[in-house]
Symmetry: C2
DNA sequence: ATAAAATGCGGAAACGATTTCGAAATTATG
DNA sequence: CATAATTTCGAAATCGTTTCCGCATTTTAT
């Protein structure tokens, strides 16, 4: 990389002091309009670009936000990313992106990497297996602004953005009941995750609201391995006390269910109704089309970034207070939960 | 952010010179094992983290690679990103990610932003509408290592990674013919894109290889707007000289076709066979399941990153020579192209 | 007319690391 | 034992900005 011209060289070319040029380019009130114009046009002409590292070093900020997600091939996280980037670009912020692949150890390493100040702040969704949060605590203790979304950790006192997991799961379950389901299963990933727990609560309360008894056997804990999940679900569906309705807490488990169903004699929605949390645009293309609970991914991304940037640019006026902000999901009924 | 301890302070704590401490931490041969140990343990104890900007400023490199993609909610690009990140993480590189949203103006802005050296190199896939490439040329002329993948620009003399677009399109078309199709259409996005042209060539040659005449009316140029595409495709399918086979150059046009078909009396594959370039894992879930040409996304990402990092770490031994590296796609036949 | 304030700019320090050059201290060599 | 060679470390320059302080000169206030 042929490094461009420096501020000092630009100043020399103009017969001005570097300090003056710097101030002119930063539109300081101390500099006359005449010199400002001269400086700016010469900077244009010589193709001057301020060195971001010199500036970061001096100002102790990087104009960079780190985003940590558990997986990339997931329409929800991709949409959140788009939402974050939209706001970040507006304010001249850059995005460092890290994918943990649902691996806690990887998450720990990445977080530790960010301890050196490479990013001004962090937006993250934790790994589903994260139990030890000392690495997150260390970040927060160091004063690095951090915001969680979706997969949050309540123990870290900061602002978190989620959707109305409880209500959505409750509504989804209620919908299945209304469509005639008697034995409703919940497919989920991990019992430790806050959102999983909330969705489970919503599911539980919906079941109990009917005066039915909760059957722990109807909650299926799946893995991150597609193959294994399909097999697991297939076995579940072949068992004598198979469910006749499923609330899937995660998009990919709904897909796995479609795969599993193909291997059985069961048909959706006649034998089995299915509704799932999902942000995939192709839900309507599946056969039958999939009823979904769609999370407000773009809004979540936008709000995360907006709050963070406010905090970064006006630290005295904004704070990442310890609260959970909820943005509601939208339920879309399609064929997969059609009643008789 | 409570800024951590600096090298100088660490040195003071150890009663050593900053230079010594720096060398010790960088495992220089000039420092005795004894002092190295002392320094390292004290660094651990005081939680020392080198300031990346000071280092970048001094060394004139950022350990950062910028990745520019036209869209994020796309399994192909997401997989490539994963492939790049995998290698980058191995070598301690960070990823700045930018989404152009298929907007040339946005691409231009982002590229110009990178002119200041924030990233050591760039991996990118251009916007489908990019015609003026002066911004890309400027990057390259400045000596910033840049690699293209998939959506490449031949005019910039550097290494590019693509799949065997011509052969895949040829094979895909041939497959449709073998399954009995007589009027085969090509759905594509943009005639300016190199990959579109290659795929068109493959399609053309396959048609001609049968001794058939090319019908320009059978190539459908679509937009980036889902709604419009569905309408366009629907009209096409309702027209008297509708096709009985479709080679879709882009995943989302295949999905749009499914949507459009739903609005007609046509059925896949009896009335209409469909095969598409796609990296989506749910191709097998569609009804009927979609025959696909799957690009080696992960490999492409891996190879981009590997070559780039070699070039960055050993600039004298590696060069981004002007060549196009081809990694073959894999065709998977499913129900959507089933013969009678 | 003189003091006070405002304007416009330059000099130099500072941010936190790496590295060149050189100087001690230690060990080896004749 | 004297000298050379090696090992181990320190002082200071450097990367490219921003900003604190200072100093003229001009404008405004008294």
């Amino acid at each position: 990389m042929i490094s461009g011209i420096s501020l000092k060289e630009l100043a020399a070319e103009l017969n001005l002091a570097p300090s003056t040029v710097s101030r002119a380019l930063n539109d300081s009130y101390e500099i006359s309009e005449a010199t400002k114009k001269k400086v700016i046009s010469m900077a244009e002409k010589l193709n001057y670009h301020a060195n971001p590292f010199a500036r970061s070093l001096r100002e102790n900020k990087s104009k960079t936000i780190a985003v940590i997600i558990p997986e990339r091939i997931n329409s929800f996280f991709a949409q959140v990313m788009d939402g974050i980037e939209e706001i970040a670009q507006e304010h001249g912020y850059h995005l460092l992106v890290y994918n943990t692949h649902e691996d806690t150890e990887r998450e720990r390493k990445i977080v530790n990497l960010l301890l050196n100040g490479r990013a001004d702040a962090i937006v993250m969704s934790v790994t589903s297996q994260t139990s030890d949060i000392s690495h997150l605590r260390k970040l927060h203790d160091r004063g690095l602004p951090i915001i969680f979304f979706d997969r949050i950790r309540a123990e870290i006192p900061t602002t978190k953005f989620i959707t109305n997991d409880y209500e959505s799961a409750y509504e989804g379950t209620k919908h299945l009941i209304k469509q005639g389901c008697k034995r409703i299963a919940l497919f989920t990933l991990c019992k430790d995750l806050s959102i999983s727990q909330e969705r489970q609560r919503g599911y539980n309360d919906a079941i109990k609201s009917e005066g039915w008894e909760l059957d722990p056997g109807l909650t299926l804990y799946c893995s991150h391995n597609e193959e294994i999940n399909v097999k697991l679900i297939e076995e579940f569906l072949q068992s004598p006390d198979r469910p006749d309705g499923i609330l899937s807490s995660v998009e990919k488990l709904a897909f796995a269910t479609y795969h599993a169903v193909k291997r059985t004699k069961l048909r959706i929605p006649s034998d089995l109704k299915l509704i799932s949390f999902s942000n995939s645009s192709i839900a309507g293309l599946l056969n039958p089309s999939l009823s979904t609970i769609t999370q407000p991914a773009l809004s979540i991304g936008n709000e995360c970034a907006e709050l963070l940037i406010k905090k970064l640019t006006k630290p005295l006026h904004y704070d990442l207070i310890d609260q959970v902000v909820t943005i509601p999901s939208k339920i879309t009924i399609r064929e997969s939960t059609l009643g008789e």
